[in-house]
């Protein structure tokens, strides 16, 4: 009989087994002594039947409902049913196409769910389970793969399970109403492995933890070097320190030898990163800050040690050591790194704030039971109960109940939005008044919030074009500094004053130490991170550093009319009654709305909504008739009503008198007038129009005051377009533009000033699918967040709040961030171009001024802290013109 060794997984013959053991009624065979020893140490660990399966051994038949995705209503599924019945252990199969489930009665000892799932799939059906991937930590042994798979498969509710050793991942299909993630994890733990599922906020927490650890490590390194620095510093300048001043030369020599010994651990412990980093970089034929610090402190220590070991080799007065440089510089630079780390942590505050919006748990209803589950375990299709005052855990659609939901954290809409059955709810928003149940449609990394976080994180790590220039410079920076240090040494040695060797060494070490490539390298990414985070806080998602940099220079903003300047939805604007009128204004609207309620015309909806807003009771309609190209006719409360255009009125020979004049002026305003006749007499006009958003005019004025030309683009006719343009203060209108030509128009604007050699930076703001090519063509495409996904995908910046004010804020954020980047770059550049020559001693011939390497170390350490500090200053940014 072939059996499996439960420890190593090897297949062996039971007769030739090295040993065998009885445990809990099972017999185990082992291939070797080490396996049997491991088993003896913890036999229970290897028992095959899982404590997590939940099988009831008393009951032989188990009943299960298998959800099958595409069960047909109209024909029996004989292949499927006979296929299942053919399995040994299956006793009964019932199909319930309405509920989309197969009810199977089976003997759990003879057949398991994965086998049944196999049959379902083989018959051409999809099992409606759910799929999850679980990371398994440190999965090293190939034989354990099989055990974990078996254990998972024997867990109740699991349809199939595969474990991949290469990716260290288990992929499990399971029925969420039968098994929970905790049970799956328990199955993996049963084999001694640690499962780990990706949770949305873990990376940030982990990073924070890592930062805290690193900060602690750096501070320990700092304190060690600082404590050593103190005595070393005192003995390095014996002539200035009382008591030490009076010691004999011989005693002082001994303190120097002690300093040499004391600074050695400073180099190897506190300076460990510099030396290993420098060596690693050297192996890669590159050099960085570590190289400079390691070279500077290393040279100082070697020279000093040589000088005190062989004083006779050196000219008179040059055999003095610089151990103070070694200890103090390392202490300062390490302290600088620690402070920099601390400041960096603050710059990811925006992401933390966003993640903090996420609900931690969800009340999921499965099998009629309410379960409090961690939000990571919520699955698409789960029904979730939300009570007043609770957060909506994931995205979904309401299936029962209604409420008002505060969506301000994501959309900026300050008033709670009323939601009823069929409406969408967004995860992380706050339920205010009522209780409701909703079906989850997006979970995990697909939720709106997760998408926003991902977008912001990606953008924070992207590069502004200016950073590429900096990269090119810093690629040459360190070797150039090294060459400068060499020549500083040579010049001081050849033409410098006595003692030449000391001057030459001190100046070249100072050059190495003062140069700070870090400040250059940090300048852009730090500001970008804070700036993009700041944008996100104000509802502006900037997709990349490039978009951020370009937005600063926008000269022309092209605004799509419908949905961008306007609400994108027609509304009733005017009701006019004829003189004398057979009806009142409200009655006119009531008649119109009653008739239009039956119509399917898009403008009809606006009239019905207006009537509902005025709380008018709509009447029954008879004999409704649509007259194509003209309008509609119907009977309401026994009176005949005609609604339509001029053509309809002329056809019916209805005298319009002064109404015709009124309708013309309404049309001039960009509205669509509709005549209403009651009982063959003109009764009045209702006019509908796509109305302008409340703050569009204000936003356009703000853009113009920033010196930006605002252009409106639309497919509408010129008269309507110009009417809207007048209202919001736009003078340049591109009307009657076909959707496919929008991108072309943007291109024309971009090259408009070619003669004057100025490339026009054009931004396009739009919301519809038809705007996508134009958004992509523009230098910066801004999508209104309430718009379609296609538009958002094609854009560089997404304005979550539907308001045009976001465009102004986006430009403000961009300008503030870019100014901050320029300040940082300027500072870092000036620091290096001034610091290095001073360190080389250019001021010495004129003022006798030389920089101490200690001061150089302090300057270097705090220059990068300053850059990070300046970037953090951006956190206080407040847009002058904020979208409420």
């Amino acid at each position: 009989m072939t059996v499996r060794d439960p420890v190593c997984g090897m297949e062996i013959e039971s007769q030739s087994a090295f040993a065998q053991r009885e445990h809990m009624g099972q017999t185990f065979y082992f291939c070797s002594k080490s396996c049997v020893d491991q088993f003896d140490a913890d036999p229970h660990h290897y028992v095959m039947t899982s404590a997590t399966t939940g099988f009831n051994p008393e009951r032989t038949l188990t009943r299960i409902e298998l959800p099958v995705a595409d069960l047909p209503f109209y024909k029996p599924v004989t292949t499927l049913e006979t296929g299942l019945r053919a399995l040994e252990g299956v006793h009964g199969v019932t199909t319930n196409a309405g509920a989309g489930v197969l009810q199977v009665e089976y003997d759990s000892k003879k057949v398991n769910i994965p086998q049944m799932a196999e049959v379902v799939r083989a018959s051409g059906f999809q099992l409606g389970g759910t799929n999850i991937r679980i990371d398994i930590e440190n999965l090293r042994c190939a034989s354990c793969v099989k055990f974990i798979e078996d254990e998972l498969k024997s867990t109740d509710g699991v349809l199939s399970a595969t474990v991949n050793i290469a990716t260290q991942e288990a992929t499990v299909d399971y029925l969420p109403q039968k098994a929970t993630l905790a049970q799956l994890n328990a199955a993996i733990e049963a084999w001694g492995y640690k499962p780990r599922t990706a949770t949305s906020d873990a990376p940030v927490d982990k990073q924070e933890e890592a930062h805290a650890r690193e900060y602690g490590r750096l501070m320990k390194m700092f304190w060690f070097s600082a404590i050593v620095s103190l005595p070393v510093l005192l003995f390095a300048y014996p002539q200035y320190v009382p008591i030490i001043r009076d010691l004999s030369m011989n005693t002082i020599r001994w303190t120097w030898i002690l300093s040499a010994v004391a600074t050695l651990p400073v180099l190897f412990y506190s300076g460990y990163d510099f030396f290993t980093g420098a060596w690693a970089a050297f192996k890669h034929r590159s050099a960085n800050m570590n190289t400079l610090i390691a070279l500077g402190t290393g040279a100082a220590w070697l020279y000093s040690t040589f000088a005190i070991a062989f004083p006779s080799v050196f000219p008179e007065g040059t055999s003095e050591p610089f151990y103070d440089v070694v200890a103090v510089v390392i202490a300062l630079v390490v302290l600088g790194q620690a402070l920099e780390l601390r400041a960096k942590g603050q710059s990811s505050a925006a992401i933390k704030k966003l993640l903090g919006l996420q609900a931690k748990t969800a009340r999921v209803i499965r099998d009629g039971k309410e379960l409090d589950l961690p939000v990571e375990e919520v699955l698409v299709g789960d029904v979730i109960q939300v009570r007043p005052g609770e957060k909506v855990p994931v995205d979904g659609v309401i299936v029962e109940g209604s409420s008002a939901v505060d969506e301000s954290m994501l959309t900026g809409e300050s008033l709670p939005v009323s939601k009823k059955k069929g409406d969408e709810v967004i995860g992380a928003t706050l339920n205010k008044t009522g209780a409701f149940k909703f079906r989850a449609t997006k979970v995990g990394k697909d939720t709106t919030l997760a998408q926003i976080v991902k977008m912001v994180q990606d953008a924070q790590n992207s590069k502004a074009p200016i950073a590429r220039l900096v990269d090119t410079i810093s690629g040459y920076f360190v070797p150039i500094v090294m060459i400068l240090a060499v020549w500083t040494f040579v010049i001081w040695f050849v033409i410098g004053p006595q003692p030449q060797l000391v001057y030459a060494l001190v100046t070249s070490v100072t050059v190495l130490i003062i140069a700070c490539p870090c400040a250059l390298g940090l300048a852009t990414p730090m500001s970008l991170m804070v700036g993009i985070g700041k944008g996100a806080e104000h509802g502006i998602l900037i997709r990349s550093g490039e978009a951020l940099q370009t937005a600063r220079a926008i000269q022309t903003v092209v605004l799509d009319k419908t949905g961008t300047i306007t609400k994108g939805k027609p509304e009733l604007t005017d009701t006019v009654i004829s003189e004398p009128s057979p009806v009142s204004s409200d009655q006119l609207l009531k008649f119109a709305a009653s008739v239009e309620k039956v119509s399917e015309h898009p403008l009809a909806q606006a009239i019905v909504e207006a009537a509902q807003a005025r709380k008018l009771q709509l009447a029954e309609v008879q004999d409704f008739e649509a007259i194509p190209g003209h309008g509609v006719s119907a009977k309401v409360e026994g009176r005949s009503v005609l609604i339509g255009n001029l053509k309809l009125m002329n056809r019916e020979e209805i005298a319009l008198n002064e109404l015709e004049e009124k309708s013309k002026s309404l049309a001039d305003d960009g509205k669509t007038p509709m005549f209403i006749a009651i009982d063959g007499k003109a009764a009045g006009i209702v006019a509908v129009a796509d109305t302008v958003k409340e703050d569009s005019a204000e936003a356009i004025k703000a853009l113009q005051s920033l010196g930006i030309e605002v252009v409106m683009i639309t497919g509408d006719n010129r008269r309507t377009a110009e009417a809207i343009a007048r209202k919001v203060g736009v003078t340049r209108v591109l009307a009657e533009v076909l959707p496919e030509d929008k991108a072309n128009e943007v291109k024309k604007l971009q090259i408009e000033n070619r003669q004057s050699k100025i490339v026009n930076v054009v931004a396009m703001v739009g919301d519809g699918i038809n705007d996508a090519p134009a958004l992509a063509q523009a230098d910066v495409g801004l999508a209104i967040g309430t718009g379609t996904d296609v538009a958002i995908e094609a854009s560089d910046i997404t304005l979550i709040k539907g308001s045009l004010k976001g465009v102004v804020t986006a430009i403000e954020v961009s300008r503030a961030t870019m100014t901050n980047i320029y300040q940082n770059l300027f500072g870092a550049f000036i620091y290096n171009t001034l610091g290095i020559p001073v360190a080389m001693g250019v001021l010495f011939p004129f003022f006798g001024l030389l920089l101490s390497p200690l001061i150089a170390g302090a300057a270097m350490a705090f220059s990068s802290v300053t850059v990070v500090g300046n970037a953090n200053r951006l956190r206080g940014f407040k847009p002058k013109f904020s979208a409420r």
């Binding site: 990073q207 960085n288 590069k463």
Partner: protein, 125 residues
């Protein structure tokens, strides 16, 4: 000018040439990505003071799977960025992190840590 001064000047010249040659002009060793059974070009990269290997040659149009393992705690290398591919990843110490993307155009693309202290190059052929 004394002999020792001439010696120092000559040494300065030699060092300058050596530095320039070593860091800028010497040819760099590159690593060609191995193609795995799944058809992806896989490279494992160690992060410690630098990227090993740091020059990686891949073919265009085929998915590239780079697995980074960071063996240091210095905060500088905690992220790796591929700005040209809009890819980035946080590298927790000691954990394997995989980045996957498909380069469509040939050329040389840099990758680096957030502040550009560690650098590498992806050469797409």
């Amino acid at each position: 000018m004394s002999q020792i001064q001439i010696f120092v000047i000559l040494s300065g010249i030699v060092l300058t040439v050596l530095i320039a040659w070593y860091f800028w002009f010497a040819p760099k060793a590159s690593t060609r990505a191995a193609v795995s059974a799944s058809g992806a070009q896989e490279v494992a990269i160690t992060v410690k003071g630098g990227y090993t290997p740091d020059v990686i040659v891949v073919q265009k149009g085929r998915p590239v799977r780079l697995t980074f393992t960071r063996h240091e705690s210095s905060a500088c290398s905690e992220k790796v960025l591929f700005p040209d591919f809009n890819q980035n990843a946080v590298l927790p110490e000691g954990e394997q992190v995989t980045l996957e993307f498909t380069p469509a155009k040939e050329g040389e693309y840099g990758f680096q840590c957030q502040m550009g202290m560690l650098r590498g190059k992806l050469i797409v052929e």
